[in-house]
Symmetry: C2
Subunit: 353 residues, 2 copies
Amino acid sequence: MSRFWSLKTHSLTPYVPGEQPKEGVYIKLNTNENPYPPSPKAVEKIRNMDFTSLRLYPDPDGELLKKAVSDYYNISDKEVFVGNGSDEVLALVFKAFFDEKATIAFPDITYSFYPVYCNLFEIPFLQIPLREDLSIDLNDYPTDVKGIIFANPNAPTGLYIEPRKIEEFLKLRSDTLVIVDEAYVDFGGKSCVDLVSRYDNLLVVQTFSKSRSLAGLRIGVAVGNSALIEGIKRVKDSFNSYPVDKIAQLAGAAAIQDKEYFETVRNKIIETREKTKNIFREMGLIVTDSKANFLFVKIPGIPGPRAMEKLRQQGILVRNFNTGRISDYLRITIGTDEEMAKVVESIKVIMAE
Amino acid sequence: MSRFWSLKTHSLTPYVPGEQPKEGVYIKLNTNENPYPPSPKAVEKIRNMDFTSLRLYPDPDGELLKKAVSDYYNISDKEVFVGNGSDEVLALVFKAFFDEKATIAFPDITYSFYPVYCNLFEIPFLQIPLREDLSIDLNDYPTDVKGIIFANPNAPTGLYIEPRKIEEFLKLRSDTLVIVDEAYVDFGGKSCVDLVSRYDNLLVVQTFSKSRSLAGLRIGVAVGNSALIEGIKRVKDSFNSYPVDKIAQLAGAAAIQDKEYFETVRNKIIETREKTKNIFREMGLIVTDSKANFLFVKIPGIPGPRAMEKLRQQGILVRNFNTGRISDYLRITIGTDEEMAKVVESIKVIMAE
């Protein structure tokens, strides 16, 4: 602690990301990374780039990448914002649209970075309890908030809301800004991006860290009506002119253009998830119906933190959120079939003890 | 404009970086980039990296890069923070140490991003006029501010304060946080990094965008007492867990380790600067005694904006800050000898008109 910290700095409770172990001895299923490498076309772009160009600043607005995203979704590039990972995009979004007088609501169980942004920027927030079955019911959200944010599929539950239900809500609450965090949408969900042109109260946030296998390059995206995008850009340009570096812009654009590889990878992950889910259920585990690249599971009779620790002893990293009614759940990222077979074996060992 | 913008978003006046032209037809001397490519060792690191590892998140604190920086300066890695360019580092620093009740002072003519951060984070600021000769006199700074920031060498003047003078000031104002932005220090100045272990009121900020030729990769550094660094990290971890991507960490570490290449490049730039400065003075231009990788010059009888436009017509981009007493100056980045010869010729043409 330094006498120069501001009061706010003292009061921060920073977000704690999953562990990035220094040695590669673990089967790493704790941060929802993709078990498969990025698109070979993205890698080729990096290998063959003009490295002398690194002496120059990148395009401040990531035009190349924005163009690739807008082509992919068949929207205008004025409806796209790109940033340094979706965490940065979300931070800029919280700052652009909320302040001490504008409340935001989100589920009590969701991405745990949301309350951290609120604390940093002094934004009042309401946490709306999930239903008994861990689902989000949008009807539970009060009308007197400026905005709502939730992950869809939600994390760490994996549960998903159909876009037509979200569309109904957008109509019903046309004065509420609805932010849909689609970090996991490519694993069996359908994006709300198509609704953006019709609803100026919808903002969709995505990431290249999961389905595009580019967590290491930090690429996040927001899609919304051009006036919303312009607001995020104003904050970005008051914070950091060039958040997305040259290599990330190049590789990100190539990754989103490589639809074939993307389909292959996400389908493999979906297949492995469904197979593993069925095995888990046969073993007697409680497993939500996840549409994400992870499973959210409870091993009967074994407290979550202990289960996590026991898996760690067997060389497998998973995540446990030791809080409230999800404290006995594990969030297990979908790895390769081989990795998931080891997880199954390890859980059998734990259950037999 | 969207009805969802916060009041703050409405009131922002974002920083405007120098133009990044889409086509490479210009001699680009407007954003203080390095005319030489990055270290071949940094490029080799990228070429030979394990690209499959991009599927994984980077180390959240940039340990590899932090270690390389702390080895270079022979300090502890607890005294180092790395971020997504020095613009992001500065933004986090403003947020970590200042707020609506803690005023910061800086020169009236300096890096124009400082007042932008203040506006974003509601930090009151004082702008202290440079002396008549455009120099900073630290004695002009009032005692009733929480902190002071200035670029050293200053931008866009290029003028430099010796570390021993800064050290005197640190002693005299031991309750004032002094932030020295050393973006340009490698071009003939001496860093204040050596003072960090003795003064807990000193924070030094640097960038890899200028002397390391890595503007395209976005790497910024803060060096200070570990408690100051911890404060910046708290804000970073409330904003974005992984701001420095894997490739930037790898290449940045290799770049700072390649001392020989660094010395060669910076010496070439210093030599070109001194040569060009002498020619400019012989031509009758007013030229400050810059210790940076740019020259700050006034062409007698020709208003700054017009001079900038005329150079542009001849294919040369430079920067003019059309404000107050520096409105007739041009900031001209030091390019290669060949590029500077063309600048000299073009200015001769303009003066002869």
